[in-house]
């Protein structure tokens, strides 16, 4: 047996103090009674103000000494050698993703994970290091201490479930970074196994073994996995998708509400694994619509979904061109764009336009606003070098979101200005000879095409209008996003021209101001619900909204993973010394002390 806090033995001084108190006599007032022999022989010293008397046996004294002794014994934290060995450095990977809110184990998966991790904490010796990593969308090291059990328990209690997914890869990278070379380390992953796919290639393996502790037992769950509001020429409607991720057939009731009240209630019966799409009306004038299913299952986060029902606010867009039907048609695809087309000679400035597209024309003063410059003429500050012939066209970064669904195969460009030396921004589309399309974020999101659209077959490809859409949404995100965002997903907020304040009000009512003067990215979207963007323009408060919903099949598919594939361990130069963990027994002793306190209380009241 070892004592983890031997200094606490100093508290044993309380025992002689208690004993000394019983040596002291109390000054008792004299009471004359008619028959002393009728009074029971009951005496108890509770006050001491006259020194020293002969010590008498007292059950209270015995119990109080025992209580003090047990408390001192608990304070020194005796620990027995544990049957399982622990490493010198234990890494606890605690899954705090949305699926850990499931209550198929009581009170919740996260609580169960905390409990199991807490038991591991209790086994650590005084020299053992423990690092606690919360596995969230952005994993973080919560604490890393040596032998401080209380701090570890506090840190465990401080971990709360988020609404995002678990990025296990990033968590493992964090854990690997926390291990010193040659250190004897072992990681424990307390998780239901529902996490983003491992993306990091741990080619060299991990410097520790990972032991997966599965949390959770059931995958029975009915979820709302999609809610989209569509506007057609005839009507506006919402499309809701309800899916039963469990194996048992379920009957649920779908409540459909707007911010004005209840609209519809529909009972739905779903077989195991079945999904059902429901089309629901959207009333005019509604700001938000909400779908809710009454499931009584283990996971409530996906039982509600909310969408913005407002008609998007229109943007005024100006196309300055001697004539470009491709650009004009591509821009008109945005329903919230009011497009004006003028000749270069008619251009008098960007004025109130939110976006200006200059085609083969460059004004003397570029607007302080989003713009697209296509083939700037020579003499323009954005003009490149002399035109050069272009070979194969390719993406500068295939993973760039601006090129989502944009295929550059079979795209040809006859020639383009040489933008090799341009300092405009980063290349989006490039070639061997020169970058072809450049984009930049500051001060406003802007794009520069180095070639004339007509000297390419790109406008004839499906990728062209998609690229224009991507660029326009990047520069001017719709005031009402077509779909909701996921928890933690960054949202682009474009301030109005002349806005004097911009802030986002989160679903819980907290208000986050945004910087003025440029497009801002708001990433504090961990809560589900409706976020309100408030802008003050010319003394008028202008509001727009976006919604954040779970909408994650991977999360709603609640079944815990039995066998999680984890990167292998590559233990190079690790000297694993025989190391025994500890089983702390002080809680048991503390409980015994509590029982003795109760016995002492009973003894006192029974006059022992």
């Amino acid at each position: 047996m070892r004592f983890l806090a031997p200094a606490a033995a100093a508290l044993a001084v309380t025992l002689p103090v208690i004993l000394a108190l019983y040596f002291l006599r109390i000054r008792r007032p004299t009471r004359v009674v008619p028959a002393l022999h009728l009074w029971p022989d009951a005496i108890r010293d509770r006050q001491a103000n006259v020194p020293w008397q002969r010590l008498r046996f007292s059950w209270l004294l015995l119990l109080q000494l025992l209580v003090a002794a047990f408390l001192v014994a608990a304070a020194v934290q005796p620990a027995l050698p544990a049957s399982a060995s622990v490493a010198a450095h234990t890494i606890v990977l605690l899954d705090a993703s949305a699926s850990m809110q499931a209550r198929d184990v009581q009170p919740s998966r996260l609580d169960e994970a905390r409990r199991q991790a807490g038991a591991l904490v209790d086994q650590l010796g005084p020299q053992d290091r423990m690092t606690l990593i919360a596995v969230e969308a952005t994993p973080r090291i919560v604490t890393s201490t040596v032998g401080d059990h209380a701090a570890m328990h506090r840190a465990l209690d401080g971990v709360t479930a988020t609404n995002g997914e678990a990025d296990l890869s990033a968590a493992l990278v964090l854990a690997a970074g926390a291990v010193r070379p040659g250190e004897d380390a072992r990681a424990y992953l307390f998780s239901d196994g529902i996490a983003m796919p491992l993306r990091a290639s741990f080619t060299t393996g991990l410097p520790f073994t990972v032991e997966y502790r599965r949390i959770g037992v059931s995958g029975e769950n009915v979820a709302l996995t999609s809610l989209v509001v569509r506007t057609s020429a005839q009507s506006r409607a919402a499309y809701v998708r309800v899916q039963n991720f469990g194996r048992q057939p379920r009957t649920v009731t779908l409540d459909w509400r707007s911010d004005a009240g209840l609209i519809d209630v529909r009972p739905l019966t779903l077989a195991g694994g079945q999904a059902q799409d429901v089309v629901l009306p959207v009333p005019d004038g509604a700001t938000t619509v909400t779908a809710h299913i009454d499931t009584k299952d283990f996971f409530s986060l996906d039982d509600s979904a909310i969408a913005i029902a407002r008609v998007p606010r229109a943007f005024r867009v100006l196309l300055v061109t001697p004539g470009n039907v491709f650009l004009e048609q591509a821009l008109r695809l945005r329903p919230d764009f009011q497009l004006d087309v003028i000749a270069p000679t008619a251009y008098r400035g960007a004025g109130a336009y939110a976006l200006t597209v200059f085609d083969r024309y460059s004004p003397g003063a570029l607007p302080d606003a989003p713009f697209v410059m296509v083939d700037p003429p020579a003499g323009s500050p954005l003009a490149g070098g002399a035109p050069i012939g272009i070979g194969r066209v390719r993406a500068s970064d295939a993973g760039d979101p601006l090129l989502n669904n944009v295929s550059l195969q079979d795209v040809h460009v006859a020639r383009s200005e040489d933008l090799t030396s341009s300092s405009f921004g980063r290349a989006l589309v490039t070639s061997v000879q020169t970058p072809l399309v450049l984009v930049r974020d500051q001060p406003f999101r802007q794009a520069l095409f180095g070639f004339d659209i007509h000297e390419s077959d790109f406008p004839l490809r499906i990728g062209f209008p998609i690229l224009v859409q991507n660029l326009s949404e990047w520069m001017l995100p719709p005031t009402v996003p077509a779909s909701s965002f996921h928890p933690g997903e960054p949202v682009t907020v474009v301030p109005e021209a002349g806005a004097t304040s911009v802030a986002v009000v989160r679903p819980d009512g907290s208000r986050r101001p945004l910087p003025l003067g440029s497009i801002a990215t708001f990433g504090d979207t961990d809560q589900v619900g409706v976020y309100t963007v408030e802008q003050t323009v010319a003394g008028r408060l202008d509001r727009s909204w976006f919604a954040v919903n779970l909408f994650s099949d991977a999360t709603s598919q609640l079944s815990p993973i039995d066998n999680l594939t984890l990167p292998p361990a590559q233990l190079v130069g690790v000297a694993v010394a025989p190391h025994q963990g500890f089983l702390q027994i002080w809680p048991l002793i503390a409980i015994l002390a509590l029982v003795l306190v109760l016995a002492e209380w009973l003894a006192f009241h029974r006059g022992l």
Partner: protein, 292 residues
């Protein structure tokens, strides 16, 4: 009478309408208002018996002689005095409580004595603590009231109780009525005194007198208890539990006295000092059949 502090004049007037109730006839030394086991002169016929020489020939029933041809004497119930003995506990334990038990006992004894004296009964007074002290020659007649009251009032209070010392004075009593007024809380057993009353053919009662504060103690906490009789001391901590234990012991002591009294054919009443003497006499003692 008005100068006597023991009993108020109004109370004394009310006591004149009360009499001691005797279950069986008694034999006294002088004529009184009690039926006597002696046959004597009175309007109430009792029995016949054969004439024997020396009998009062005036009592011969001549009608019976005519019918039976032998002398028969007519016997009448003699109305004689009732010998009432009062044994009053004035030990240290009686000097306690509010109202004080000893003072209440003196007043109760005075009231009972007055009831007896007003019925021309004979009253003998004995106070006791560690030992008995005679209250003097028997008192008879209302004119003795003042002297008896002064005597009762003059006795000091204190000392331990020893009931066994009462056996001798009790055994010397002529058959009659005896009333023992005590708190019954002495360390010595009360049984010898009660048994002696029975053996002395005493009809009577045991009146246990307690103060309300000793029936229900109203204090808790630490104290040094001192016995009112012996002066013995003991440290003590009063809790609800110990108070309950005391009350149980007191109830057991009362039950024992009551059981012993009834076993010997004596009446028993437990009186508390907060009860007015008038109520004690007219209500509590009537209830047990001691007074009529």
């Amino acid at each position: 009478m008005t100068s006597n502090p023991l009993l108020e004049p109004a109370l004394i007037r009310r006591l004149e309408s009360i009499a001691l109730l005797v279950r069986r006839a008694v034999k006294g030394q002088m004529g009184g208002e009690r039926r006597s086991i002696s046959r004597g002169r009175s309007p109430e016929f009792a029995d016949f018996r054969n004439y024997s020489p020396g009998d009062d020939f005036r009592l011969i029933d001549w009608n019976a002689y005519a019918r039976l041809d032998r002398f028969m004497l007519r016997l009448f119930v003699a109305e004689e005095e009732l010998p009432l003995s009062l044994f009053v506990d004035l030990s240290g334990s009686m000097d306690w409580g509010s109202p004080n038990k000893a003072q209440t006992a003196k007043r109760l004894a005075a009231a009972l004595a007055y009831v007896a004296l007003s019925s021309l009964d004979r009253v003998r007074l004995t106070v006791f603590a560690e030992g008995p002290t005679s209250g003097g020659a028997p008192y008879r007649g209302r004119h003795a009231t003042q002297e008896l009251f002064s005597r009762i009032d003059s006795f000091p209070v204190g000392g331990p109780t020893d009931y066994s010392r009462l056996v001798w004075p009790i055994s010397r009593q002529r058959p009659g009525m005896s009333i023992l007024i005590t708190d019954g809380l002495g360390e010595s057993a009360i049984d010898p005194a009660i048994t002696a009353l029975r053996l002395a053919r005493q009809e009577g009662a045991v009146l246990q007198l307690l103060a309300p504060q000793e029936i229900t103690p109203d204090w808790t906490g630490d104290a040094r208890l001192r016995d009112a009789e012996t002066g013995a001391e003991r440290e003590f901590t009063a809790t609800p539990v110990t108070q309950a234990a005391y009350r149980t012991a007191l109830a057991r002591r009362t039950d024992d006295i009551q059981a012993a009294a009834r076993r010997r054919g004596l009446r028993f009443a437990r009186l508390t000092t907060d009860e007015p003497i008038d109520d004690m006499v007219r209500r509590s003692l009537r209830r047990i059949g001691l007074l009529a």
